[in-house]
Amino acid sequence: MPSPSLTSMMGFERKLVIGVGGMAISNNQAMILTTYSLGSCLGVTIYDPVSHVGGLLHAMLPDSSINAAKAAAQPAMFVDTGIGALFRATYALRAEKNRMQICVAGGASFLDQSGVFNIGERNYACLTRLLAQNGLTIDAKDVGGLVSRTLHLHIGTGEVRLKCSGQNADTILFKGYANVG
């Protein structure tokens, strides 16, 4: 168990809930970004441990070309438009791409022999392709499988927590090291 942060001990922590097709960034160290209901959707957290800036994306589908108007109005709905939007938003708060800790959760798959309903897999494939194109790697992931997930990013520490359906407690997906640098 990590020791609790000062903010959590003093009860100052605030939770911001991000819905399906939403994203949020923060540099408020008392903030926890949370998203529920990751089924085949993909949850992506990014965190710069130097500037203490983090962001969370809850993208529903891989490819924005199915609805360009929706993608323009709500880029976080799609992985291909959401990832760029998430990174760009953090740069305004002085985050830097090459320092980002990247975590991914979601992309669950059915027992689908036909491969027709493989939305989770397509979401993850789209993400890894985009990250590779930008020379980025994933630090921790819990992707695929038969569970729905809840994902939390603690802005104060960069710690990423996860809860899978059918489980009672969170687990640590990525132990932050906010004090680096």
């Binding site: 097709g21 085949s40 529903m60 038969l146 729905s148």
Partner: protein, 282 residues
């Protein structure tokens, strides 16, 4: 293994309110059906009437506070909207409780059911068919879980150990351990409540629509709606994605696989539009 009698005994203990949905569906489709009969049927249950009026007056309809009785509600919103509000109110009462046997928290089964119903309606509006029937079948598709939930509590580990890693879906594991599955029991529940045969069949075969012939289309709407609800994360519990998909549901409705992404997108939008009618737990 339980005997079928034990399950049937449990079915008879479920509250009787949903029976009214079957009767309303018949009235709605009857060209000689009269408005007063529909209002009378709903009015028979004062608690239900109050809940329907409360939903009519929610922000979702922009009529805030102005609807005071069912006649007025029907005039302003039409029968189809009122029917769906009745169905939402009844199902919330019925499906709202937590189901420890399935690892489902309070309100989660109902939210999954509403998401399934909204998704199935998105598809039927594109493909064409009886919207109220599709909506109702999708809303009640997991009703068998109310019956099996308590039986599963005692043998959860046995069901879970057979799910997923050994290649069985949760439904198949239920059948192996309990001798029945929630789809089959759900069909029996609707039979007990004297629902029309097409709804009974669609609920019974929502995990394998081709078996529902001649009602395979209705079952296919429910199957695809169910999958969309899972994709949107509205499927908590142990069985979450341990669901076997049937791609022939697409063929039955002549839908191309590519359209599924658009249906998921539209379902999300439709859910946001009616968010005021759905209690949110998150």
């Amino acid at each position: 293994m339980q005997t079928l009698d034990n399950f049937i005994k449990q079915i008879k203990m479920l509250p009787p309110a949903p029976r009214v949905l079957g009767r309303l569906l018949v009235l709605l489709n009857d060209p000689d059906g009269h408005a007063s009969q529909i209002v009378e049927l709903i009015s028979f249950d004062p608690a239900l009437t109050a809940k329907v009026l409360q939903r009519c007056n929610s922000a979702a309809f922009g009529l805030a506070g102005s609807v005071s009785n069912l006649d007025e509600a029907v005039t302003l919103l039409g029968f189809n909207a009122i029917y769906r509000l009745v169905a939402m109110s009844i199902s919330e009462e019925l499906l709202g409780a937590s189901q420890a046997g399935y690892g489902i928290g309070s309100g989660e089964l109902w939210e999954h059911s509403v998401t399934t119903a909204v998704a199935a309606r998105v598809i039927v509006r594109k493909v064409g068919g009886e919207e109220n029937v599709v909506f109702t079948a999708a809303l009640l598709h997991d009703i068998g879980k109310l019956v099996l939930g308590s039986f599963l509590e005692g043998c959860r580990q046995s069901v879970l150990s057979q799910t997923g890693s050994s290649g069985l879906s949760f439904l198949e594991a239920e059948k192996t351990v309990l001798g029945v599955d929630h789809a089959e029991i759900g069909g029996r529940v609707l039979e007990e409540w004297k629902f029309p045969e097409n709804l009974v069949s669609a609920v019974r075969h929502h995990h394998d629509p081709a078996q529902a012939r001649p009602h395979e289309q209705l079952a296919a709407y429910v199957h695809l709606g169910d999958l969309i609800a899972h994709c949107l994360g509205q499927a908590q519990g142990f069985d979450s994605f341990a669901v076997r998909t049937q791609s022939n549901a697409l063929e039955i409705l002549e839908i191309s696989p590519k359209e599924m992404d658009s249906f998921i997108l539209e379902t999300d939008s439709a859910l946001k539009e009616c968010a005021g009618l759905i209690r949110t737990t998150a």
